[in-house]
Symmetry: C2
Amino acid sequence: MSRRLAAEPAPDNIVSAAPRPGESRPAVSDVHRGPTGPIEVPSRLLMGPGPANVSPRVAAAQTLPLLGHMHPPFFRIMDEIQQGLRYVFQTDSPYTLLVSGTGHAGMEACIANLIEPGEKIVVGNKGIWGARVTDLASRYGADVIDLQTPPATAFSYETLEQAVTEHKPAVLFLCQGESSTGVHQNLAGLGELCRANGTLLLVDTVCTLGGIPLHADDWGIDAIYSGSQKVLGAPPGAAPLFFSERAFQKLRNRKTPVASYYFDLNLVGDYWGWFNKRFYHHTGMVSNWYGVREALAMTADEGLDHLWQRHGNCAQMLWGGLSSMGLEPLVEVEAERLATVNTIKVPEGVDWAAVNANAMSKYSVEIAGGLGGTVGKAWRVGIMGYNATPANVELVLAAFRDGLRQQGRL
Amino acid sequence: MSRRLAAEPAPDNIVSAAPRPGESRPAVSDVHRGPTGPIEVPSRLLMGPGPANVSPRVAAAQTLPLLGHMHPPFFRIMDEIQQGLRYVFQTDSPYTLLVSGTGHAGMEACIANLIEPGEKIVVGNKGIWGARVTDLASRYGADVIDLQTPPATAFSYETLEQAVTEHKPAVLFLCQGESSTGVHQNLAGLGELCRANGTLLLVDTVCTLGGIPLHADDWGIDAIYSGSQKVLGAPPGAAPLFFSERAFQKLRNRKTPVASYYFDLNLVGDYWGWFNKRFYHHTGMVSNWYGVREALAMTADEGLDHLWQRHGNCAQMLWGGLSSMGLEPLVEVEAERLATVNTIKVPEGVDWAAVNANAMSKYSVEIAGGLGGTVGKAWRVGIMGYNATPANVELVLAAFRDGLRQQGRL
């Protein structure tokens, strides 16, 4: 066997950079050559409805060396993420994972897998997220019952009971926290209702998971999706997902294939060990998942009770300050107000956008305007994860105070 | 107007953490509380087919402060990414963006948007990626013509010409670099062929973009998707995408809605400014895109000519060393060998897995086995981006030499 030096060039016939037969090799165009120089990113305190800022620990985790998406040490990290998800969802179910995409990817994964063409879904539509599920479920061939409420209100149990008993849908969709209106949906009793009617209970927790109470098993929820970039305090890009045993059985007993490949949980679940092995489906989002793992570890360190209390306390403090300025909640019913996304009525004659612009330019603080039906009617202030501290709440209040003073309102 | 202190608690009727009517609040279960402690990530040199390691500059960018996904400074970063993509794709087309997902998400976005149910696609299927497109296109209702080649070979122009003229498909799919076999597909003349037959030319460049020549405009390509985690040298999670004007017109003139919401490029494109505004579709992957922006800036700094040459030189050096050990390429035809994923025949009687295991345990170097049809028949060595250096090639060669010696083969 030859003993030539390793660095010796390969014989010409091994690999060559010469053009392929018939291939044209135009000169490289420099017309769009760029970008140049280092990236420029201003520092901002994100107190809108998300993304929120992440902790230095989470940020730093993303710089750790990349692992292969099928390496055993990476599988151990995926296992740890699943453990952390079980804790935040409060479930014993083995069926948790991260969908490789943002919250909307979690939404699509749930709809694509839980609904077969022609099946009914009752969409509890109280804003932007209900409207998006309505759109999405239609694309997947569902028979959509679009249930709406008056602006900035939640559904009563009785309204939902009537819809579920009348339609006996395959799925009932509800959004725990409708971030466009700041409405909290009470989920009490819905698990039992859905079970009695052969319905799966699907809940959006994108802006709530980790910030307000949720008990997936005890409340009889069948499927949940969320986002990484809100209360959990990781960067955007991962959608935590939970399936109950009932949801899993629905998936396994489908009569039609899942219409999407990327979101097919038979395949994604196989990568996450739902079937007791590990099969390559796609390349996991390695660095992002490092961040999610650290965010979940910080959640476990703090404990859910403490975390929920911290969010509640910050929301209380926020409203104490806002009340002192004469500002009022958009959501009329106290029990329907969300601690994680607080919606504040824009008083008659106040230029809401000027308040936001001043907050950003003077304090580098994000206060958000409305979304969808609440544009021009409300401000939205997020109390989320790493950002949920008294210091940050004070800064938001200072920004409101300054903005209102500029308009002669204080 | 009231002048109470901001920190004063809100009146009880503003927001409360009390249970909602009828809501059960079980104690928080600590059964799955975790994970605990800091994340543990070993340091490895990833010389398989990807992901590859990222540069310190790219890794550090991910720790920069998060911006909102609709903030003007973030839109500027998205603009810079689109400029960088135009350069690496070598196109003047305004239609570039990152799909918020891995390479497979790019694949699904292309199929979902370019094919309407019942339309024909000719899939140039020479391994795993062709097979996946076949599966995926079937889910989207395409009439799939599954064109196959003998193992580890590319398609001849004549074969493709026959298929396209016979079927006049809506789309011809080809994979520039089939990473399961290490085969490079010559794209010469296919743009003209497709234009003459009313066909859109769709090319997978997941393992090739930036590593070997590609000229989207000059070669008449209509749609391309790629992955961030290979030659580009960013973490996994973003799929660069390119549409020509023809592909864009196909999208705008669809008779049926795109079956996926998350991948609907009418909406995703709207977020990226394809329609001269910015409309919220989903939350962009802020930190990940910072990394992509820096990776593209490093690409522009180096220049495509130099980058392609560096990959070719490293592949030459790799084969020089492998030849000296008596190892041979899996791909018979010289013009069909890929510089970015090199496939090496496993000699009769050699335990390939033991070589890989030794490389990992002794040198922390990843050498990959085969995938799909090449399992047990080939090793795969990636020459990708930040990892494409003589030092890394030497380490791979040392690992091969040591592994073969252990089996008495050197």
